[in-house]
């Protein structure tokens, strides 16, 4: 009898355990996996997110005129799994805790997030590239932040960036190891140092092979792989 009274008193004190929604706001955990969102300033177009997407909700389409690519996340196909967020090398794609997803059928085909992400031309060789996001560059060149000309480097394709970094290092008479980070992703880590030195020795050298934009929206695959691996 006493036990019953105790429970009664506790229940009266605590009030109903029913979630007040829809008559009042409900509690949403901070890390609740809700709608996916993408920050076009950080995206490098590597399409890893599209590759791992469980539902096939991500679409990346390069424009015909090579001005950039269109990026779309379809909320109606997204399984809220979080794989895109996990694998994105730059942290461009993230998840909000917004779960207000119910919508009328009229809105079905615009229940998505669209972004246009522009390319720029490499200042070295004029190739169409996606600018290296500053956040990523700070990580890639973590040990060389003091002796690099960042704003200029960001606007170059990986090859021109390597050459520029090496040239600058040679000019500063520093040990020519500035290209370590850049060459890690290019596949010929051994060969690039002498090559870069040669480039530095010959002031007239310009990058020979311009990078062109590959199909499928992958522009600057070297850079993200260098950090992800």
């Amino acid at each position: 009898m006493l036990g019953f009274l105790k429970i009664l008193a506790r229940n009266v004190a605590q009030g109903p355990s029913t979630d007040p929604f829809p008559f009042a706001e409900t509690h949403t955990p901070r890390r609740f996996r809700g709608k996916v969102t993408m920050d076009p300033a950080k995206c490098v177009g590597c399409a890893i997110c599209r590759h791992v997407c469980a539902g096939g909700a991500i679409r990346i389409e390069p424009r015909e005129d090579r001005s950039g690519y269109d990026f779309t996340v379809w909320h109606n196909t997204c399984a809220l799994c979080g794989l895109c967020r996990h694998y994105c090398p730059t942290g461009a794609i993230t998840m909000t805790n917004d779960w207000h997803n119910a919508h009328l059928q009229e809105r079905k085909y615009d229940w998505a997030e669209h972004h246009f992400v522009p390319y720029l031309r490499c200042t070295g060789c004029e190739a169409h590239i996606r600018m290296l996001p500053p956040d990523l560059a700070t990580r890639v060149y973590a040990n060389h932040a003091h002796d690099l000309d960042f704003p200029a480097l960001l606007r170059m394709c990986p090859k021109c960036r390597q050459v520029a970094a090496a040239t600058r290092a040679a000019a500063l008479n520093a040990p020519a190891d500035v290209d370590d980070a850049a060459s890690a992703g290019s596949g010929n880590g051994n060969g690039s140092r002498p090559a870069a030195k040669a480039a530095a020795a010959n002031e007239e050298t310009t990058p020979a092979t311009p990078h062109t934009v590959k199909d499928g929206g992958r522009t600057d695959a070297d850079t993200p792989r260098a950090t992800a691996g």
Binding site: D19, G55, N76, A79, W99, W111
Partner: protein
């Protein structure tokens, strides 16, 4: 009399159809209605066992080839005006099963859907939100705007 009539139609009964779902969304639907924590019955809703008593039908699953005819038959049994809610990304777009060999969905190829509640599965509060939207559509169809 008019007042009574208005009052009496505010309680849409819900009916569930599982069109080949993985059961994730059905568990959330059960949670939405059957436990006091979310309690959709506060809105006057109630699950019913027969499609002929239903006003709002909640469909889960990507409409597999195996259940397609049965789903369409049951759906036809529900009297007009009915409101169809697609719960989960499966009925809306096919979800993770999209383009599978046994998938006939998305469901709006065969059934006129009114409200979509994407999510895999959507949380109970999102389903309640969808039910509220469906209720508004239903009231509008009856000519009884709130």
């Amino acid at each position: 009399m008019n007042f009574l009539k208005k009052l009496s139609v505010r309680s849409p009964w819900l009916y569930r159809i599982n069109a080949g779902s993985c059961n994730g969304c059905d568990v959330e639907l059960a949670t939405t209605a059957c436990i006091p924590r979310y309690d959709v019955e506060r809105l006057g809703c109630k699950y019913c066992g027969s499609p002929r008593h239903a006003d709002i039908v909640l469909i889960t699953g990507p409409l597999t080839a195996r259940v397609k005819d049965k789903v369409l038959r049951v759906w036809d049994e529900i009297p007009e005006p009915k409101v169809t809610v697609a719960v989960g990304i499966c009925p809306v777009s096919g979800g993770v099963f999209r383009d599978g060999y046994s998938i006939e969905g998305p469901i709006d190829r065969y059934i006129p859907v009114d409200v979509n509640v994407p999510g895999c599965p959507p949380r109970p509060q999102a389903i309640i939100e969808g039910v509220i939207k469906a209720r508004d559509v239903w009231m509008a169809r009856l000519g009884l705007q709130e």
